[in-house]
């Protein structure tokens, strides 16, 4: 599985690195500069993604939404537990001892008491979930977003976050274990469907009300990533500057 994905990963990595040269500063979202040099291409891929979503992914996600929520919660908890090794890697790389301890604690508690991660018993214990990935680690260490990129199927991203995705494919401790590939693919698909289901109201609203749904998606994606990197603590410098008119 890994040897098959390497050439494709290498191509994506090379393309992303060539775009990182156009990296803007972390402030660009605050000042409103649109760093989207390949906007034409992005809009085309976005259009393609919309077609695929309306035909396949959306209906699948809505169908998944009808599955009773306790079952969906089990799936989500299991997937989160499976991805906790890579989260731990990034907590450490971000030099965040407290969150690393939290993640390690969750892994232990959920895998044992939580029946191999099917039940998230760690959150009521006082160890809430948080996600981390290579894009966030790079962002934490000062790497700017870079140009906006729309990935086929996977959707909005940035040059930095795309590099992050590829890096995570190799960095994930679970990828070093043979035979577990199918489980990881299944987990990725399941979490993608779950996320799509949860985003349904935002997506439906955007399609109906936005004057420029692509531009709205681009703005929301960037701001959401900035909030994730800052671990949801919005600093004054992250807020837009609204003059007194």
């Amino acid at each position: 599985m890994l040897s098959q994905s390497k050439p494709l990963a290498a191509i994506v990595l090379a393309l992303s690195l060539s775009l990182v040269g156009c990296a803007g500063t972390a402030d660009q979202q605050v000042s409103g500069d649109i760093n989207d040099p390949i906007e034409g291409v992005n809009r085309a891929i976005f259009g393609f993604n919309e077609v695929v979503d309306k035909a396949v992914i959306g209906p699948v996600a809505r169908g998944y939404g009808k599955v009773p929520s306790p079952i969906r919660d089990r799936v989500r908890d299991f997937v989160r537990n499976l991805t906790s090794p890579i989260v731990l890697v990034h907590d450490v790389l971000q030099l965040d001892g407290e969150r690393a301890g939290n993640t390690a604690g969750r892994m232990l508690v959920n895998t044992t008491i939580g029946a191999f991660g099917l039940v998230d018993v760690a959150t009521p214990f006082g160890l809430p979930y948080h996600s981390e990935d290579a894009g966030q680690t790079l962002g934490k260490h000062g790497v700017g977003d870079g140009p906006f990129v729309v990935l086929p199927i996977l959707g909005p991203s940035t040059a930095r976050d795309t590099v992050g995705r590829v890096v995570d494919m190799f960095l994930d401790p679970l990828s070093w274990i043979d035979g577990i590939g199918g489980l990881r693919v299944g987990a990725t698909v399941a979490s993608g469907v779950d996320l799509r289901e949860r985003l349904e109201p935002v997506i439906a609203d955007g399609r109906k009300n936005a004057l420029d749904y692509y531009a709205q998606t681009r703005s929301l994606y960037r701001q959401n990533r900035a909030a994730e990197i800052a671990n949801q603590t919005v600093a004054d410098s992250d807020l837009p500057d609204i003059p007194v008119y």
């Binding site: 709205q216 703005s219 701001q223 959401n224 919005v234």
Partner: protein
């Protein structure tokens, strides 16, 4: 050099007299009170049982103008294109922008049913604003969301200039979207005005 410094100090001292609204330090307690009472009132007024959709829409418009500084938000969402907007265009835009907000948000009112806001913190932002943090919870339970209300005291009244939902600024998002529409229309604010007009009159 001495002359310049004295002049500068004099000018700085005169500033609070010229702009009394800026002289007061932000009152975070009053800001908290405003957000608490405004969100409570809004939820109750907008989601009252038995009112028609058109009544709900008109109530929304009233609340929008009462609690939000639509003039400031409207100018902000034009971004760098504000400078190039003529006074007539600006008036057109602000009126259409208000119609657009009413259309978009009043259609979403159903989603705000059984939603409550609890004020949890507040801090001053810049020289003029207070960011009041609230937790939005549904009575039925489920995950809560952090919603921050950026309010500004102008002419002795607080009005909202931005709403930050889970770290995402609504005003910034709107500005980014409108900037894109203007940019794709060749940098003309008229494109945005036409699009808004079509949108709001299509109902």
């Amino acid at each position: 050099m001495t002359f310049d410094r004295r002049f500068f100090l004099l000018a700085a001292a005169a500033l609070p007299l010229a702009y009394p609204a800026l002289a007061q330090a932000q009152d975070t307690d009053k800001a908290r009170d405003f957000v608490g009472s405004f969100t409570g009132k809004a939820v109750e007024y907008l989601l009252a049982d038995g009112i028609s959709q058109s009544e709900a829409t008109s109530r929304f418009r009233d609340l929008l103008n009462e609690g939000f500084d639509v003039g400031t938000i409207g100018r902000f969402v034009l971004g760098r294109y504000l400078r190039e907007t003529s006074p007539t265009e600006l008036n057109d835009f602000l009126s259409l922008f208000e119609d657009y907000l009413v259309q978009v948000y009043s259609s979403r009112l159903g989603e705000f049913r059984d939603l409550g806001f609890k004020v949890v913190d507040a801090r001053a932002v810049g020289n003029t604003d207070v960011l009041v943090g609230t937790t939005a919870v549904r009575q039925a339970g489920g995950p809560s969301a952090r919603v921050e209300w950026r309010v500004r005291n102008k002419d002795s009244a607080f009005r909202v200039v931005d709403v930050v939902v889970e770290g995402i600024s609504m005003s910034a998002s709107q500005r980014d979207e409108f900037s894109s529409v203007i940019q794709r229309g060749g940098g003309k604010v008229q494109t945005l005005i036409q699009t808004l007009r079509q949108r709001t009159q299509a109902t």
